[in-house]
Protein backbone atom coordinates (compact mmCIF):
# COMPACT_ATOMS: atom_id res chain seq x y z
CA UNK A 1 0.00 0.00 0.00
CA UNK A 2 1.25 3.51 -0.77
CA UNK A 3 1.99 5.80 2.16
CA UNK A 4 -0.68 8.26 1.06
CA UNK A 5 -3.34 5.57 0.99
CA UNK A 6 -2.23 4.27 4.37
CA UNK A 7 -2.42 7.74 5.79
CA UNK A 8 -5.86 8.42 4.30
CA UNK A 9 -7.13 5.25 5.80
CA UNK A 10 -5.76 6.03 9.24
CA UNK A 11 -7.11 9.58 9.11
CA UNK A 12 -10.55 8.41 8.31
CA UNK A 13 -10.41 5.88 11.09
CA UNK A 14 -9.89 8.63 13.67
CA UNK A 15 -13.57 9.50 13.97
CA UNK A 16 -14.96 7.60 16.97
CA UNK A 17 -18.35 6.72 15.39
CA UNK A 18 -16.61 5.38 12.35
CA UNK A 19 -14.20 3.39 14.47
CA UNK A 20 -17.12 1.71 16.15
CA UNK A 21 -18.68 0.82 12.80
CA UNK A 22 -15.33 -0.50 11.59
CA UNK A 23 -15.11 -2.62 14.72
CA UNK A 24 -18.63 -4.02 14.13
CA UNK A 25 -17.90 -4.61 10.45
CA UNK A 26 -14.61 -6.34 11.10
CA UNK A 27 -15.78 -8.68 13.82
CA UNK A 28 -19.24 -9.50 12.51
CA UNK A 29 -17.70 -10.39 9.15
CA UNK A 30 -14.77 -12.30 10.57
CA UNK A 31 -17.00 -14.45 12.75
CA UNK A 32 -19.55 -15.24 10.07
CA UNK A 33 -17.55 -15.21 6.86
CA UNK A 34 -16.37 -18.83 6.79
CA UNK A 35 -19.89 -20.09 7.53
CA UNK A 36 -21.36 -17.61 5.06
CA UNK A 37 -18.93 -18.84 2.43
CA UNK A 38 -20.13 -22.38 3.07
CA UNK A 39 -23.75 -21.20 2.89
CA UNK A 40 -23.16 -19.29 -0.36
CA UNK A 41 -21.29 -22.16 -2.01
CA UNK A 42 -23.84 -24.82 -1.02
CA UNK A 43 -26.58 -22.38 -2.00
CA UNK A 44 -25.39 -22.33 -5.62
CA UNK A 45 -26.63 -25.82 -6.54
CA UNK A 46 -29.71 -25.34 -4.33
CA UNK A 47 -30.89 -22.45 -6.53
CA UNK A 48 -31.01 -24.96 -9.37
CA UNK A 49 -32.30 -27.85 -7.29
CA UNK A 50 -35.37 -28.51 -9.44
CA UNK A 51 -33.21 -28.75 -12.55
CA UNK A 52 -30.57 -30.93 -10.84
CA UNK A 53 -33.29 -33.10 -9.30
CA UNK A 54 -34.87 -33.51 -12.72
CA UNK A 55 -31.53 -34.53 -14.25
CA UNK A 56 -30.66 -37.01 -11.52
CA UNK A 57 -34.18 -38.37 -11.07
CA UNK A 58 -34.39 -42.07 -11.80
CA UNK A 59 -38.15 -42.36 -11.33
CA UNK A 60 -40.32 -44.09 -13.92
CA UNK A 61 -41.92 -41.66 -16.37
CA UNK A 62 -45.49 -40.47 -15.99
CA UNK A 63 -48.12 -42.33 -18.00
CA UNK A 64 -49.38 -40.54 -21.11
CA UNK A 65 -53.06 -39.83 -20.55
CA UNK A 66 -55.75 -37.79 -22.26
CA UNK A 67 -56.05 -34.19 -21.10
CA UNK A 68 -58.37 -33.81 -18.12
CA UNK A 69 -57.97 -37.41 -16.99
CA UNK A 70 -58.99 -37.71 -13.34
CA UNK A 71 -56.62 -38.55 -10.49
CA UNK A 72 -56.79 -41.91 -8.75
CA UNK A 73 -58.34 -41.93 -5.29
CA UNK A 74 -56.07 -41.07 -2.38
CA UNK A 75 -57.61 -44.04 -0.58
CA UNK A 76 -56.13 -46.31 -3.24
CA UNK A 77 -52.59 -44.93 -3.01
CA UNK A 78 -52.70 -45.04 0.78
CA UNK A 79 -53.86 -48.65 0.69
CA UNK A 80 -51.13 -49.53 -1.80
CA UNK A 81 -48.56 -47.83 0.46
CA UNK A 82 -49.72 -49.77 3.51
CA UNK A 83 -49.41 -53.00 1.53
CA UNK A 84 -45.86 -52.07 0.51
CA UNK A 85 -44.89 -51.23 4.11
CA UNK A 86 -47.17 -53.20 6.43
CA UNK A 87 -47.10 -52.00 10.04
CA UNK A 88 -45.78 -48.57 9.14
CA UNK A 89 -47.59 -45.29 9.73
CA UNK A 90 -48.76 -42.96 6.99
CA UNK A 91 -47.56 -39.45 7.85
CA UNK A 92 -48.99 -37.44 4.98
CA UNK A 93 -50.17 -37.52 1.39
CA UNK A 94 -49.16 -34.77 -1.01
CA UNK A 95 -50.95 -34.07 -4.28
CA UNK A 96 -48.79 -32.06 -6.68
CA UNK A 97 -50.55 -29.37 -8.68
CA UNK A 98 -47.64 -29.06 -11.08
CA UNK A 99 -46.80 -32.60 -12.07
CA UNK A 100 -49.14 -35.61 -12.12
CA UNK A 101 -47.75 -37.15 -8.98
CA UNK A 102 -49.01 -38.11 -5.55
CA UNK A 103 -46.47 -38.58 -2.77
CA UNK A 104 -47.14 -40.74 0.27
CA UNK A 105 -44.83 -40.17 3.25
CA UNK A 106 -44.42 -42.96 5.79
CA UNK A 107 -42.39 -43.72 8.89
CA UNK A 108 -42.12 -46.77 11.12
CA UNK A 109 -44.26 -44.96 13.74
CA UNK A 110 -45.24 -41.47 14.90
CA UNK A 111 -42.81 -41.83 17.82
CA UNK A 112 -39.97 -42.68 15.47
CA UNK A 113 -40.91 -39.74 13.23
CA UNK A 114 -41.12 -37.30 16.15
CA UNK A 115 -37.78 -38.49 17.49
CA UNK A 116 -36.14 -38.10 14.10
CA UNK A 117 -37.90 -36.17 11.34
CA UNK A 118 -35.54 -37.71 8.85
CA UNK A 119 -36.85 -41.22 9.44
CA UNK A 120 -39.46 -40.33 6.82
CA UNK A 121 -39.50 -42.14 3.50
CA UNK A 122 -41.63 -41.56 0.44
CA UNK A 123 -43.45 -43.38 -2.32
CA UNK A 124 -44.20 -41.55 -5.55
CA UNK A 125 -47.34 -42.56 -7.43
CA UNK A 126 -48.52 -41.62 -10.89
CA UNK A 127 -51.56 -39.48 -10.13
CA UNK A 128 -53.49 -40.86 -13.09
CA UNK A 129 -52.72 -44.57 -12.95
CA UNK A 130 -51.77 -45.09 -9.32
CA UNK A 131 -48.58 -46.89 -10.39
CA UNK A 132 -45.54 -46.64 -8.11
CA UNK A 133 -42.91 -44.51 -9.88
CA UNK A 134 -40.24 -44.27 -7.20
CA UNK A 135 -39.56 -45.14 -3.59
CA UNK A 136 -37.00 -43.49 -1.37
CA UNK A 137 -35.35 -44.77 1.79
CA UNK A 138 -35.30 -42.69 4.99
CA UNK A 139 -32.93 -39.72 4.81
CA UNK A 140 -29.32 -40.75 4.63
CA UNK A 141 -29.94 -44.50 4.90
CA UNK A 142 -28.88 -45.00 1.33
CA UNK A 143 -26.10 -42.44 1.52
CA UNK A 144 -26.90 -38.78 0.99
CA UNK A 145 -27.74 -37.52 -2.45
CA UNK A 146 -25.71 -34.54 -3.63
CA UNK A 147 -28.59 -32.13 -3.04
CA UNK A 148 -29.36 -33.55 0.41
CA UNK A 149 -25.72 -32.98 1.36
CA UNK A 150 -25.81 -29.40 0.04
CA UNK A 151 -29.11 -28.66 1.78
CA UNK A 152 -27.94 -30.08 5.11
CA UNK A 153 -24.71 -28.09 5.03
CA UNK A 154 -26.69 -25.02 4.01
CA UNK A 155 -29.36 -25.35 6.67
CA UNK A 156 -28.14 -27.08 9.81
CA UNK A 157 -24.63 -28.58 9.43
CA UNK A 158 -26.05 -32.00 10.42
CA UNK A 159 -26.88 -30.60 13.86
CA UNK A 160 -30.67 -30.34 13.65
CA UNK A 161 -32.32 -27.47 15.46
CA UNK A 162 -29.07 -26.36 17.12
CA UNK A 163 -27.47 -26.12 13.70
CA UNK A 164 -30.44 -24.18 12.31
CA UNK A 165 -30.25 -21.65 15.12
CA UNK A 166 -26.47 -21.38 14.82
CA UNK A 167 -26.58 -20.69 11.09
CA UNK A 168 -29.48 -18.29 11.71
CA UNK A 169 -27.21 -16.40 14.11
CA UNK A 170 -24.47 -16.36 11.46
CA UNK A 171 -26.99 -14.87 9.02
CA UNK A 172 -27.79 -12.19 11.62
CA UNK A 173 -24.09 -11.38 11.82
CA UNK A 174 -24.06 -11.18 8.03
CA UNK A 175 -26.82 -8.56 8.24
CA UNK A 176 -24.83 -6.69 10.90
CA UNK A 177 -21.84 -6.78 8.53
CA UNK A 178 -23.94 -5.32 5.71
CA UNK A 179 -25.41 -2.56 7.88
CA UNK A 180 -22.02 -1.59 9.31
CA UNK A 181 -20.62 -1.82 5.79
CA UNK A 182 -23.19 0.75 4.66
CA UNK A 183 -22.13 3.11 7.46
CA UNK A 184 -18.45 2.78 6.54
CA UNK A 185 -19.09 3.10 2.81
CA UNK A 186 -20.64 6.55 3.20
CA UNK A 187 -17.50 7.87 4.92
CA UNK A 188 -15.11 6.00 2.70
CA UNK A 189 -16.59 7.28 -0.55
CA UNK A 190 -16.43 10.98 0.34
CA UNK A 191 -13.25 11.28 -1.66
CA UNK A 192 -14.01 8.82 -4.43
CA UNK A 193 -16.47 8.67 -7.29
CA UNK A 194 -18.97 5.83 -7.30
CA UNK A 195 -17.54 2.77 -8.96
CA UNK A 196 -13.89 3.81 -8.70
CA UNK A 197 -11.54 0.84 -8.82
CA UNK A 198 -7.98 1.95 -8.20
CA UNK A 199 -6.38 -0.83 -10.14
CA UNK A 200 -2.88 0.54 -10.59
CA UNK A 201 -1.74 1.35 -7.05
CA UNK A 202 -1.69 -1.77 -4.94
CA UNK A 203 -3.43 -5.09 -4.97
CA UNK A 204 -4.96 -4.48 -1.57
CA UNK A 205 -6.39 -1.12 -2.66
CA UNK A 206 -7.84 -2.67 -5.80
CA UNK A 207 -9.48 -5.44 -3.79
CA UNK A 208 -10.77 -2.93 -1.26
CA UNK A 209 -12.42 -0.92 -4.04
CA UNK A 210 -13.87 -4.07 -5.61
CA UNK A 211 -15.15 -5.19 -2.18
CA UNK A 212 -16.85 -1.81 -1.70
CA UNK A 213 -18.28 -1.64 -5.21
CA UNK A 214 -19.63 -5.19 -5.34
CA UNK A 215 -20.83 -5.05 -1.75
CA UNK A 216 -22.75 -1.83 -2.24
CA UNK A 217 -24.42 -2.70 -5.55
CA UNK A 218 -25.72 -6.02 -4.17
CA UNK A 219 -26.72 -4.79 -0.72
CA UNK A 220 -30.48 -4.75 -1.43
CA UNK A 221 -30.48 -8.34 -2.58
CA UNK A 222 -28.06 -9.50 0.13
CA UNK A 223 -30.15 -7.90 2.90
CA UNK A 224 -33.32 -9.60 1.64
CA UNK A 225 -31.71 -13.01 1.19
CA UNK A 226 -29.93 -12.68 4.56
CA UNK A 227 -33.05 -11.63 6.45
CA UNK A 228 -35.25 -14.28 4.83
CA UNK A 229 -32.51 -16.80 5.60
CA UNK A 230 -32.77 -15.92 9.30
CA UNK A 231 -36.56 -16.33 9.19
CA UNK A 232 -36.26 -19.69 7.41
CA UNK A 233 -33.86 -20.93 10.08
CA UNK A 234 -36.52 -20.09 12.67
CA UNK A 235 -39.19 -22.25 11.04
CA UNK A 236 -38.99 -25.06 13.62
CA UNK A 237 -39.48 -22.78 16.67
CA UNK A 238 -42.13 -20.73 14.85
CA UNK A 239 -44.20 -23.79 14.05
CA UNK A 240 -43.71 -25.04 17.60
CA UNK A 241 -44.94 -21.69 18.92
CA UNK A 242 -48.04 -21.92 16.73
CA UNK A 243 -48.68 -25.47 17.90
CA UNK A 244 -48.33 -24.42 21.54
CA UNK A 245 -50.68 -21.43 21.21
CA UNK A 246 -53.31 -21.36 18.43
CA UNK A 247 -53.50 -25.06 17.68
CA UNK A 248 -53.53 -26.04 21.33
CA UNK A 249 -56.32 -23.53 22.06
CA UNK A 250 -58.38 -24.95 19.22
CA UNK A 251 -57.90 -28.53 20.35
CA UNK A 252 -58.49 -27.77 24.04
CA UNK A 253 -62.15 -28.92 24.02
CA UNK A 254 -61.03 -32.34 22.74
CA UNK A 255 -58.39 -32.77 25.44
CA UNK A 256 -58.43 -36.24 26.99
CA UNK A 257 -60.76 -37.83 24.44
CA UNK A 258 -59.58 -41.08 22.85
CA UNK A 259 -57.35 -40.66 19.83
CA UNK A 260 -58.57 -42.43 16.67
CA UNK A 261 -56.79 -45.65 15.75
CA UNK A 262 -55.64 -46.37 12.21
CA UNK A 263 -58.58 -48.74 11.67
CA UNK A 264 -61.02 -45.96 12.64
CA UNK A 265 -59.70 -43.41 10.18
CA UNK A 266 -62.15 -42.02 7.67
CA UNK A 267 -61.26 -41.99 3.97
CA UNK A 268 -58.49 -39.44 3.24
CA UNK A 269 -59.99 -38.86 -0.19
CA UNK A 270 -63.29 -37.89 1.48
CA UNK A 271 -61.44 -35.47 3.77
CA UNK A 272 -59.66 -34.02 0.74
CA UNK A 273 -62.94 -33.67 -1.18
CA UNK A 274 -64.74 -32.09 1.76
CA UNK A 275 -62.13 -29.34 1.86
CA UNK A 276 -62.13 -28.91 -1.90
CA UNK A 277 -65.90 -28.48 -1.93
CA UNK A 278 -65.87 -26.07 0.99
CA UNK A 279 -63.04 -23.94 -0.46
CA UNK A 280 -63.48 -23.91 -4.24
CA UNK A 281 -61.12 -20.95 -4.65
CA UNK A 282 -58.22 -22.80 -3.07
CA UNK A 283 -55.90 -25.54 -4.30
CA UNK A 284 -55.84 -28.49 -1.92
CA UNK A 285 -52.28 -29.71 -1.66
CA UNK A 286 -51.87 -32.28 1.08
CA UNK A 287 -53.49 -34.35 3.79
CA UNK A 288 -51.53 -34.75 7.03
CA UNK A 289 -52.59 -37.69 9.16
CA UNK A 290 -53.78 -37.31 12.76
CA UNK A 291 -50.93 -37.40 15.26
CA UNK A 292 -48.49 -35.18 13.37
CA UNK A 293 -46.22 -32.98 15.51
CA UNK A 294 -47.65 -29.80 13.94
CA UNK A 295 -51.26 -30.88 13.80
CA UNK A 296 -54.02 -32.59 15.70
CA UNK A 297 -54.34 -36.10 17.12
CA UNK A 298 -58.05 -36.09 16.18
CA UNK A 299 -58.05 -34.55 12.72
CA UNK A 300 -56.69 -34.76 9.27
CA UNK A 301 -54.97 -31.47 8.53
CA UNK A 302 -55.73 -30.64 4.91
CA UNK A 303 -53.44 -27.91 3.56
CA UNK A 304 -54.71 -25.50 0.96
CA UNK A 305 -53.15 -22.62 -0.94
CA UNK A 306 -54.42 -19.79 -3.11
CA UNK A 307 -54.37 -19.60 -6.88
CA UNK A 308 -52.91 -16.11 -7.36
CA UNK A 309 -49.13 -15.58 -7.60
CA UNK A 310 -48.95 -14.22 -4.06
CA UNK A 311 -51.61 -16.38 -2.40
CA UNK A 312 -50.14 -19.55 -3.94
CA UNK A 313 -47.28 -19.00 -1.45
CA UNK A 314 -49.66 -18.81 1.50
CA UNK A 315 -50.87 -22.09 2.93
CA UNK A 316 -53.90 -22.47 5.14
CA UNK A 317 -54.74 -25.61 7.09
CA UNK A 318 -58.26 -26.99 7.43
CA UNK A 319 -59.13 -29.53 10.12
CA UNK A 320 -61.28 -32.50 9.16
CA UNK A 321 -62.51 -34.90 11.83
CA UNK A 322 -60.50 -38.08 11.24
CA UNK A 323 -63.31 -40.39 12.42
CA UNK A 324 -66.30 -38.82 10.68
CA UNK A 325 -64.72 -36.96 7.75
CA UNK A 326 -66.68 -33.86 8.76
CA UNK A 327 -64.99 -30.54 8.17
CA UNK A 328 -64.19 -29.09 11.59
CA UNK A 329 -62.59 -25.68 11.03
CA UNK A 330 -60.24 -23.63 8.90
CA UNK A 331 -57.29 -22.22 10.80
CA UNK A 332 -56.01 -18.70 10.25
CA UNK A 333 -52.26 -18.67 10.16
CA UNK A 334 -50.54 -16.18 12.47
CA UNK A 335 -48.52 -13.34 10.98
CA UNK A 336 -45.18 -14.92 11.84
CA UNK A 337 -45.95 -18.03 9.80
CA UNK A 338 -47.19 -15.84 6.94
CA UNK A 339 -43.85 -14.03 7.09
CA UNK A 340 -42.09 -17.39 7.04
CA UNK A 341 -44.04 -18.47 3.96
CA UNK A 342 -43.21 -15.27 2.10
CA UNK A 343 -39.57 -15.65 3.12
CA UNK A 344 -39.22 -18.91 1.28
CA UNK A 345 -39.45 -17.72 -2.34
CA UNK A 346 -37.50 -14.55 -1.54
CA UNK A 347 -34.71 -16.73 -0.16
CA UNK A 348 -34.79 -19.50 -2.77
CA UNK A 349 -35.15 -17.33 -5.89
CA UNK A 350 -37.28 -19.99 -7.51
CA UNK A 351 -40.26 -17.86 -8.39
CA UNK A 352 -39.29 -16.04 -11.57
CA UNK A 353 -38.25 -18.66 -14.08
CA UNK A 354 -34.77 -19.64 -15.24
CA UNK A 355 -33.49 -16.06 -15.82
CA UNK A 356 -34.18 -15.22 -12.17
CA UNK A 357 -32.33 -18.36 -11.05
CA UNK A 358 -29.33 -17.41 -13.17
CA UNK A 359 -29.35 -13.88 -11.72
CA UNK A 360 -29.58 -15.49 -8.25
CA UNK A 361 -26.52 -17.62 -8.98
CA UNK A 362 -24.58 -14.57 -10.24
CA UNK A 363 -25.53 -12.48 -7.19
CA UNK A 364 -24.51 -15.40 -5.00
CA UNK A 365 -21.14 -15.56 -6.78
CA UNK A 366 -20.69 -11.81 -6.24
CA UNK A 367 -21.45 -12.32 -2.53
CA UNK A 368 -18.80 -15.05 -2.39
CA UNK A 369 -16.34 -12.56 -3.88
CA UNK A 370 -17.33 -9.87 -1.36
CA UNK A 371 -16.80 -12.32 1.51
CA UNK A 372 -13.51 -13.59 0.11
CA UNK A 373 -12.16 -10.13 -0.68
CA UNK A 374 -13.15 -8.97 2.82
CA UNK A 375 -11.07 -11.75 4.31
CA UNK A 376 -8.18 -10.91 1.98
CA UNK A 377 -8.30 -7.20 2.92
CA UNK A 378 -8.23 -8.00 6.62
CA UNK A 379 -5.39 -10.47 6.13
CA UNK A 380 -3.32 -8.10 3.94
CA UNK A 381 -4.00 -5.26 6.37
CA UNK A 382 -2.74 -7.09 9.41
CA UNK A 383 0.40 -8.01 7.50
CA UNK A 384 0.84 -4.41 6.32
CA UNK A 385 0.40 -3.13 9.88
CA UNK A 386 3.10 -5.46 11.14
CA UNK A 387 5.48 -4.34 8.40
CA UNK A 388 4.73 -0.71 9.22
CA UNK A 389 5.38 -1.24 12.89
CA UNK A 390 8.74 -2.69 12.02
CA UNK A 391 9.70 0.16 9.69
CA UNK A 392 8.33 2.70 12.15
CA UNK A 393 10.88 1.47 14.66
CA UNK A 394 13.63 2.33 12.19
CA UNK A 395 12.10 5.60 10.89
CA UNK A 396 10.15 7.21 13.75
CA UNK A 397 9.22 10.38 11.83
CA UNK A 398 6.25 10.26 9.47
CA UNK A 399 7.02 11.29 5.95
CA UNK A 400 6.04 14.93 5.41
CA UNK A 401 4.58 14.10 2.02
CA UNK A 402 1.87 12.06 3.66
CA UNK A 403 0.22 15.08 5.27
CA UNK A 404 -3.09 16.09 3.80
Amino acid sequence: MSEQAAFDERAYERKPALRRWLFVHKWSSLVCSLFLLLICITGLPLVLRDEIDGLLDDALPYAQVAAGAPNVSLDRVVEASRKLYPGETVISVFVDDDEPKIMVYMASSWEAFKANRRSLHSIRFDAHTGDVLKQTKPFGEDGLTFLQLMLTLHRDLFAGLAGELFLGAMALLFIAAIVSGIAIYGQFMRKLDFGTVRASRSRRLKWLDLHNLLGVVTLGWALVVGATGVINELSTPLFALWQQTDVRAMLAPLQGKPVPQTSELFSPQAAYDAVRTAFPDMITTSVVYPGAPFGSPFHYVVWTKGKEPLTSRLFSPVLVDARSGVLASAITMPWYLRALELSRPLHFGDYGGMPLKIIWVLLDLVTIFVLGSGLYIWFARSRATKTQQRSAAVLPLPSPGAAE
Binding site: G195, V197, L214, P309, Y351, G353
Partner: protein, 60 residues
Amino acid sequence: MTIHRSIGLIWRWPALLAALSIFGLLSALLGQTGVWLPLSWVALAAPLAVAAICIGRSRG
Protein backbone atom coordinates in the same frame (compact mmCIF):
# COMPACT_ATOMS: atom_id res chain seq x y z
CA MET B 1 -7.37 19.79 -2.26
CA THR B 2 -9.87 17.00 -2.05
CA ILE B 3 -13.51 17.78 -2.67
CA HIS B 4 -15.81 16.04 -0.21
CA ARG B 5 -18.88 14.56 -1.81
CA SER B 6 -22.33 15.02 -0.35
CA ILE B 7 -24.37 12.12 1.00
CA GLY B 8 -26.74 12.52 -1.95
CA LEU B 9 -23.94 12.12 -4.43
CA ILE B 10 -22.36 9.19 -2.60
CA TRP B 11 -25.61 7.27 -2.31
CA ARG B 12 -27.22 8.15 -5.65
CA TRP B 13 -26.17 4.97 -7.44
CA PRO B 14 -26.25 2.53 -4.51
CA ALA B 15 -29.74 3.73 -3.49
CA LEU B 16 -31.04 3.46 -7.05
CA LEU B 17 -29.64 -0.07 -7.39
CA ALA B 18 -31.02 -1.14 -4.01
CA ALA B 19 -34.45 0.21 -4.97
CA LEU B 20 -34.26 -1.62 -8.30
CA SER B 21 -33.27 -4.84 -6.50
CA ILE B 22 -36.23 -4.64 -4.13
CA PHE B 23 -38.54 -3.79 -7.01
CA GLY B 24 -37.22 -6.78 -8.96
CA LEU B 25 -37.65 -9.12 -6.01
CA LEU B 26 -41.24 -8.04 -5.49
CA SER B 27 -42.36 -7.69 -9.09
CA ALA B 28 -41.66 -11.36 -9.82
CA LEU B 29 -43.30 -12.41 -6.56
CA LEU B 30 -46.46 -10.32 -6.92
CA GLY B 31 -46.69 -10.25 -10.71
CA GLN B 32 -45.58 -13.63 -12.06
CA THR B 33 -47.23 -12.93 -15.41
CA GLY B 34 -46.94 -10.61 -18.37
CA VAL B 35 -44.34 -7.90 -18.20
CA TRP B 36 -43.60 -8.26 -14.47
CA LEU B 37 -41.21 -11.18 -14.85
CA PRO B 38 -38.95 -9.58 -17.51
CA LEU B 39 -39.07 -6.35 -15.51
CA SER B 40 -37.86 -8.27 -12.48
CA TRP B 41 -34.99 -9.81 -14.44
CA VAL B 42 -33.87 -6.44 -15.77
CA ALA B 43 -34.16 -4.74 -12.36
CA LEU B 44 -32.22 -7.47 -10.55
CA ALA B 45 -29.58 -7.69 -13.26
CA ALA B 46 -28.95 -3.91 -13.04
CA PRO B 47 -26.53 -4.14 -10.06
CA LEU B 48 -24.53 -6.79 -11.91
CA ALA B 49 -24.43 -4.70 -15.07
CA VAL B 50 -23.38 -1.54 -13.23
CA ALA B 51 -20.61 -3.38 -11.39
CA ALA B 52 -19.40 -4.93 -14.64
CA ILE B 53 -19.28 -1.50 -16.34
CA CYS B 54 -17.33 0.05 -13.44
CA ILE B 55 -14.83 -2.80 -13.43
CA GLY B 56 -14.53 -2.62 -17.20
CA ARG B 57 -13.77 1.11 -17.03
CA SER B 58 -11.04 0.66 -14.44
CA ARG B 59 -9.25 -1.66 -16.85
CA GLY B 60 -9.72 0.42 -19.95
